[in-house]
Amino acid sequence: MKCNILNSDLILYAERSLPAERRDLLESHVSECEECRAFLAFLVKSMTLIDKDKETDQNPFLYTRIMAKMEADEKQTWSQHKSFIPALVFSAIFLAGILGGIKIGKLYSGTIPGYYNDLQEEVSYFNDISQESIETFFIITNEDVNE
């Protein structure tokens, strides 16, 4: 029996989960094949190392550590929130400044006597196209020629 055919059965055998009908075949091969025998021994040891690794002792202090960690996490969350307060205060002052400025600006619009009306008159001189129609604009008079 070739090694590569039985190869995938080696780890199942090492884990003691190989079906009985294949077990006899593997054992028979391994008894004759040194290479497979050596690798099988390696796999058995590897599985034993996993069994050793998974051993755990009961820790009587775990509950205390968990409660301490929860307390520490709560304190950290509160101190993280506290660090936002100066930024919030600054933003509030900045916003108040902008709104205050807009309010003050509105208060002063049109309060200087005649300022707004005079400005309108000046603007109208610069916008004299509204004073005459487009047809009269293009009519050339004698006065225009003599100039």
Binding site: E15, S46, L49, T56, N59, L62, Y63, I66, M70
Partner: protein
């Protein structure tokens, strides 16, 4: 199937936790801590990390117990949280490793085969040889695809049945059988690489 006694204990724990009882929580920690730590040990390299993750698991249970609907066993729910926290820990560790790679260009992220120490003095019978082999086994498990690794750990470390593993992974029994079969095959291949480097 969980024994009747453990089912009764779970029912009492659930009632206590729903009521916010710290005594019930302490009892839960005492009852389940070994199972949780064992699960976490399968995913991480060190016992300290496994205990850190276990603490996170129990904190998560305490904070989000209102999300436990009771349609699965309490143990199934706890195993799910343990697996998720362990996988999150591994992802965070991987991100930290990637960041350090970009910060220190001379460092390299080693693959499974590069990372194995090829020791000319390797002897499987002495302590050093056993610890190198133990490390190789751990690395081989770590290098498995995520679902295969989870199924293998729940089977090998927690001795869960295929049905229990299927419940934890929200999967079916045939899928779990297939995952564990492939996990074992891949594990054997990876261990053979170490074996060839050190024994032959």
């Amino acid at each position: 199937m969980a024994p009747v006694n453990s089912h009764i204990i779970d029912t009492e724990l659930i009632e206590g936790l729903r009521a916010g009882s710290q005594e019930a929580f302490r009892s839960l920690v005492d009852t389940y801590q070994q199972r949780v730590i064992r699960t976490c040990k399968g995913f991480v390299q060190s016992d300290d990390d496994a205990e850190d993750i276990a603490q996170e698991v129990f904190i998560e249970i305490w904070k989000s117990f209102n999300k436990f609907r009771g349609d699965a066993e309490l143990s199934t729910w706890i195993y799910r949280i343990s697996v998720n926290k362990s996988l999150n820990f591994i992802r965070s560790a991987y991100k930290r490793k990637m960041l350090s790679f970009f910060q220190f260009p001379d460092s390299t992220i080693s693959s499974f085969t590069d990372d194995l120490a090829v020791s000319t003095d390797y002897s499987p019978d002495d302590d050093l040889g056993r610890s190198e082999q133990a490390e190789a086994v751990k690395k081989a498990i770590d290098s498995l695809p995520s679902k295969q690794r989870t199924a293998f750990i729940l089977s090998k470390y927690d001795d869960l049945s295929y049905k229990e593993i299927a419940d934890v992974m929200n999967s079916t029994i045939p899928s779990v059988e297939s995952l564990i079969f492939r996990a074992r095959q891949n594990l054997q291949k990876r261990l053979y690489i170490f074996y060839k480097k050190n024994m032959l």
